[in-house]
């Protein structure tokens, strides 16, 4: 076989030959091709990912396993990770998204944790295929999550050119486990038997993620698309319950889910992580189709499968727990001493390698230098653009800003009855049983903000997650990062990737949150057009008393609206406001220390609320959208008067999207104290206006009234999807 056929470069093939000391056979080439693909080996990213800070007081497990784990309290640990399923969702949106959800759920289960929440981060183009794709993806995410019984408690969706043929579907799953219930791929011991559990293996997506997701798409690929995997949430549920029940017995020594490159990657990774060898007998693998070759069995990406190894003491109980869920675990091989990875099929030895060659042998791409890029010149041109009332309504109805209800009402956000705050809020809150701490979740993945300056975008993504957690006074425990980019062989993509990681690193260090895991998806590029570099950050935080959240709605008259941590010179760079005028400049670099101080102030205040009645983090749509959302989330019969009087800065002030700004509503009688506190923290503030009796929102800019809108009109503008089926975007 020509190693190029399985995606290896000539030099990689040479390295493989040297490791093996002979010409590998076809199956062995196939294994190298899959395990050394970008998707499995992280060859272009591993050295750069090493820049991310992994240590933190709450960290139980950092990157390296199936998911990161942080400590919620002495009893409960939280496993969480974001995973992408971009290419498959373009080929078949419903099944691609569904299997993406199934895959990340299995990662969490493989850590011994029960999934308690999902969040999805979606990107679509702005052509007219976008709504079909969105519709299918939402059906797929919901179809799987709703049926398996894990609530989708939040998410985000944005649009932009470049996502047309490369939509993004990133899903975050969060699970909990009892402290000390550590399982994973490390525990296999010599003499134990390896079992395969779940769906019978078919010819699904052979080389799918490993080969197809590891290179760019072009028009010619239409005919060589691999068979797409179909999601089966019912079997997924049985597999999840059976695996968790088995782990519960204490009889599981090691567990590894089957994802990209199926049995090949899961078994070789389990061997390497456990420091053992494996002998697999492929005749024992239950197959859905006749006459499957060893190659197909090893590389099939059939969903809903799990690899398990049982210990001597409790293995029988674990097996019984599995059969109670109607599944059978099929023995397919044994754990042997050394590090040899031997496959037999039809009585013949068909592969004989060192497992570590597959898992760690791939030559890695060197990382560039750890120097942040110089901030691009932004210039003031756009700041002088002026806006009218109808622009403001257009911003509310912009696809990047408008209400997401048409999407999230298709997700079950309440199952498991722990959801205090679901997708209608910017941060999700779970009140879990068995701990006094609430679990706070946020997700953020700016593409528009990273488009021109990936470093700024990386910082902003982390900053927004921390800011959203701060609106509840929650302490961030850990982050997961899903990085989506084009072809890493292109210098500009590699540079953007490194800058994005540097941005994430800087922000994570400044805000004191570790990154415990993540995912990299390269090759989001079709016919040479790449997506905006898109960093999707998920974060988990904790705080006591989760069932009494701090409001994000405007609940009464005579509340002063104050902008906390206002930039001295607000900019429209990267904002929806300037895009309305056809401009896209660099997003500002978030002032991390000021955000850290603002978050500290909010955490302190959240203990006693001290006159601050509502809080929101400023993001897309700027202060304007934050005010509108706070107003609409509040009680009827309350109006708002906004008054901006900063001459040339008034419009940028209203529409600047720099993260780290917070909108707070303060009791008139406490305004003095709050402003003093903020001054003490060294934070800039601006008075924006106040809530009043009535039903209108009035805006004055530099003394001129720009608009006076009834609640109904503002609400209709923000819910611009109303009347459209399913709320898809119509261009």
């Amino acid at each position: 076989m020509n190693p190029q056929a399985v995606g290896l470069s000539a030099s990689e093939a040479q390295v493989a030959r040297q490791l093996v000391g002979r010409e590998p056979n076809d199956l062995e080439w196939g294994l190298f091709g899959a395990l050394w693909s970008e998707h499995c080996s992280y060859k272009s990213s591993r050295r750069v990912l090493a820049w991310l800070p992994k240590a933190g007081a709450a960290v139980v497990a950092g990157p390296g396993g199936n998911a990161g784990v942080v400590r919620l309290d002495d009893e409960v640990e939280v496993a969480f990770k974001v995973e992408s399923h971009n290419h498959p969702s373009y080929v078949e949106p419903v099944q691609g998204a569904a299997t993406g959800v199934g895959g990340i759920i299995r990662d969490i289960v493989a850590m011994g944790a029960r999934p308690v929440a999902l969040m999805d981060s979606l990107r679509f183009g702005d052509d007219d295929r976008a709504h079909r794709l969105l519709n299918g993806v939402v059906a797929g995410v919901g179809g799987y999550g709703n049926a398996i019984g894990v609530p989708t408690v939040g998410g985000e969706v944005y649009y932009g050119p470049g996502y047309d043929k490369n939509p993004l579907v990133n899903v975050l799953c969060v699970g909990t486990r009892q402290s000390g219930r550590d399982v994973g791929a490390r525990g296999a011991r010599v003499g134990q038997t390896v079992y395969l559990l779940g769906q019978a293996t078919g010819r699904d997506g052979i080389h799918g993620a490993s080969l197809l997701a590891s290179r760019d798409f072009s028009a010619e690929d239409q005919d060589m698309r691999p068979t797409v995997q179909v999601g089966d949430p019912y079997t997924g549920k049985l597999l999840m319950e059976a695996t968790l029940a088995a782990i519960e017995t204490g009889g599981v020594a090691a567990v590894q889910d089957l994802g990209a490159a199926g049995l090949a990657s899961s078994s070789s990774e389990l061997a390497v992580q456990s420091g053992v060898g494996l002998e697999l007998d492929l005749d024992q693998v239950p197959c859905r189709e006749l006459h499957m070759s060893a190659y197909e069995i090893m590389l099939s990406e059939t969903q809903e499968r799990m690899l398990l190894v049982f210990n001597a003491e409790r293995g029988k109980e674990a097996l019984a727990a599995i059969s109670a869920w109607g599944l059978t675990a099929q023995p397919i091989g044994r754990v042997v001493a050394g590090g040899r990875y031997v496959l037999r099929y039809e009585g013949i030895e068909v592969a004989n390698l060192e497992a570590s060659w597959l898992v760690d042998g791939c030559p890695l791409v060197a990382a560039g230098s750890m120097v942040p890029s110089v901030a691009p010149e932004v210039g003031q041109a756009a700041e002088s653009v002026s806006f009218e009332g109808r622009d403001l309504l257009a911003i509310l109805g912009d696809p990047d800003c408008r209400d997401r209800q048409p999407i999230y009402q298709r997700y079950d956000s309440m199952i498991q009855t722990a959801t205090v705050w679901g997708p209608e809020h910017d941060v999700a809150i779970l009140a879990l049983k068995g701990t006094r701490y609430g679990l706070y979740l946020a997700i953020s993945g700016p593409g528009r903000w990273a488009a021109v300056d990936a470093y700024a975008g990386g910082r902003a993504a982390v900053a927004l997650v921390v800011a959203r957690l701060a609106t509840q006074g929650a302490v961030p425990l850990g982050l997961t990062d899903g990085l989506n980019l084009g072809n890493p062989d292109k210098p500009e993509v590699k540079a953007a990737f490194e800058q994005m990681i540097l941005g994430i690193r800087e922000a994570a260090l400044a805000l004191d949150v570790p990154v415990t895991g993540g995912n990299v998806s390269f090759h989001n590029e079709t016919d040479g057009q790449a997506i905006w570099p898109t960093p999707v950050i998920g974060g988990v935080g904790r705080r006591e008393r989760p069932t009494a959240p701090w409001s994000d709605g405007l609940s009464g008259e005579n509340l002063r609206l104050i902008l906390v941590n206002a930039p001295l010179v607000p900019t429209l760079g990267g904002s929806v406001g300037e895009r309305l005028h056809g401009i896209l400049r660099a997003y500002p670099r978030v002032r991390l220390q000021d955000l850290a101080r603002s978050a500290a102030w909010l955490r302190q205040l959240s203990q006693n609320a001290g006159g601050v009645r509502a809080v929101r983090a400023v993001a897309d749509g700027g202060v304007w959208l934050a005010v509108v959302k706070m107003w609409l989330a509040g009680s009827a019969g309350v109006g708002v008067r906004l008054d901006l009087d900063e001459s040339a800065l008034s419009w940028p002030r209203l529409l600047c999207e720099e993260v780290g700004q917070f909108l707070v509503a303060v009791d008139e009688s406490d305004v003095r104290i709050v402003l003093d506190q903020l001054a003490l923290h060294g934070l800039q503030t601006r008075n924006l206006g106040q809530s009043v009796a009535g039903t209108h929102l009035t805006l004055r800019v530099n003394g001129d009234e720009v608009g006076c809108w009834p609640r109904q009109e503002i609400s209709a503008a923000w819910r611009s999807w109303e009347g459209e089926r399913g709320g898809q975007r119509t261009s």
Partner: protein, 227 residues
């Protein structure tokens, strides 16, 4: 003595655990029974919880209707008037089994819907005098197939026999014709004899922080206990 309540679990049930917790919250003693059990262990109260019993790929509840536990349940209803509550998938299963009339079809939107709704009691079920017409509950729905359908001829009988138990209600427009899924006559739940069923989820509305605690009232009335 706590009232024991059977909660039936099919392999794809996913609201069984929430239902167990909810019943515990109102002081009952839930007992989980599996789909392949062939009797109800003498329990007098049974909940068929929500979920996707056997995947629900073919039709919601279609395969579960034939499970051994459903033979036992039907017999117990007919012989002993055992009190049954079907929630969401439970409602679908009861209709598929023919224990309740009609069927639950795809929502008119063609989409899954999860959100809070108001429902209103239309008629007092003979077996549960505690529910009185006009009573309102705020409960979440979460389903893709919640549109109640019944043959035109039987619809009349349904009303005449006071089997229409719950309807969706729109408090903003105080409308009787509002339905989030396109059910005929905005029907959200029906009751016949000792069996009642509804699409909304009372077990998800047990505390103020869940958005409503009306589920406590609902389940307490069903169980005939003071909450």
């Amino acid at each position: 003595m706590k009232t024991k309540v059977a909660v039936i679990r099919f392999p794809g049930s996913n609201c069984d655990h929430d239902t167990v917790l909810a019943l515990e919250r109102i002081g009952a003693e839930p007992v989980t029974l599996l789909h392949h059990a062939d009797n109800l262990r003498g329990l007098r109260y049974v909940v068929l919880p929500g979920g996707f019993s056997y995947g629900d790929y073919l039709r919601a509840g279609a395969l579960a209707a034939h499970a051994p536990i459903m033979d036992a349940l039907q017999e117990a209803v007919e012989r002993d008037q055992v009190r049954v509550l079907g929630i969401c998938n439970g409602f679908q299963i009861l209709c598929e089994r023919g224990i309740l009339p009609g069927a639950l079809h795809a929502n008119v939107s063609g989409e899954f819907r999860c959100r809070m709704e108001w429902i209103e009691v239309v008629s007092t079920p003979a077996a549960w005098p505690g529910f009185t017409p006009g009573m309102r509950f705020r409960l979440p729905i979460a389903h893709a197939d919640g549109a109640y359908r019944i043959a035109e001829g039987e619809r009349k009988t349904l009303w005449e026999s006071h089997s229409v138990f719950l309807r969706y209600h729109d408090p903003v427009n105080d409308s009787q014709e509002y339905s989030p899924n396109g059910s005929v006559d905005a029907i959200a739940g029906i009751s016949q004899g000792s069996v009642m069923a509804l699409m909304p989820h009372p077990e998800r509305a047990m505390e103020q922080w869940m958005g409503s605690d009306d589920g406590r009232r609902f389940l307490s009335l069903w169980l005939e206990v003071n909450r």
